[in-house]
Symmetry: C2
DNA sequence: CGTCCGTTGTTCAAATTTGTACTCAAGTGT
DNA sequence: ACACTTGAGTACAAATTTGAACAACGGACG
């Protein structure tokens, strides 16, 4: 029904800024974490999530969801972290299938060593570049976008291209 | 000098929203592009960039920079696109080292077929979730962040963690 | 109970990304 | 012309991600 409504200049500007900002930020953060403590940003997020969880442990699936990664991807990463002694697996007795990933003391220690530098960088590159008002607008707007994406698994383009 | 200044709630909210939004968006967009036209989001961006360039061609390095990818990563992707007939390479006669990637007619055709659905999705998931004011704040703020990151190759954390 | 359906975490191969090393030329200064 | 430094694109191996296939359960229901 609706012929393609292209983005106008303002919309394009926002979209491009968003994409570019993420790429640039990610690159810097990842690089710094690797250099300083030998963790990828993904690994850092895993540790950070665990550190905030009760008993410092989460089930694989929850964790995967929390860091927005696939199950198999998380299996791999937890494998790496486990090998590095930063995390350990624990089986649940009430549900044989369940596996908990738990942050070890070494993991916690490393996280505490990594956090200051990481946070400083986030602040420098992201937080401090935005005014408080912009920050709030961004949090509100993207928060709403996230809400929409999370709920409806796929309103989007269900039958969008059913010609070919 | 400065002891770690952690993020306050508002800052955390913004940062998390930003990270989550990108992951969510990227996943959806990538999936849709693959489903509809068999392109990854990166490949789409490559084609889109080329389509907007004079003569529909760009040098490898420029293109790599434009889509924020490493040189070797771009070599790989261009290889894929070339094999699919969507792009072709052209050598420059004035500079033997230079290689141009050019969008072929098929590439252009595919891009035109892909664009409507892609744009519709960007609009639905991103643009329409934000108010015009939020959109502008986001464009301004992130634009500023990008500017900062682009100019100084690395003000950040030069000598930040030189203890360990 | 036994059956069927949806979950959970893993495995495995293929696709992609990363990072480094390399090859050739341009450009510079001598 | 001759080193010398840098830049462009590629090659390649190692690391990571993806996606489908699997094995093993829980849970609901007849």
């Amino acid at each position: 029904m609706d012929r393609p409504r292209w983005l106008n200049e303002e919309e394009k500007r926002a979209w491009n800024a968003f994409i570019a900002a993420h790429a640039l930020l990610y690159q810097r953060l990842d690089q710094q974490l690797k250099r300083d403590v030998g963790l990828s940003h993904l690994q850092y997020m895993v540790l950070a999530r665990l550190s905030g969880a009760p008993d410092r442990e989460l089930r694989m699936a929850e964790l995967a969801d929390a860091v927005q990664n696939s199950k198999s991807g998380l299996t791999y990463q937890i494998g790496q972290l486990e090998q590095a002694g930063l995390v350990c697996r624990r089986n649940c007795q009430s549900d044989v299938r369940a596996v908990y990933a738990r942050l070890t003391d070494e993991g916690m220690a490393l996280l505490e060593r990594a956090a200051p530098g990481h946070v400083a960088m986030v602040r420098e590159l992201f937080i401090d570049a935005l005014t408080p008002a912009q920050l709030q607008a961004l949090a509100d707007g993207l928060g709403e976008a996230n809400r929409r994406m999370r709920e409806c698994g796929g309103t989007a383009t269900h039958e969008f291209e059913r010609r070919k």
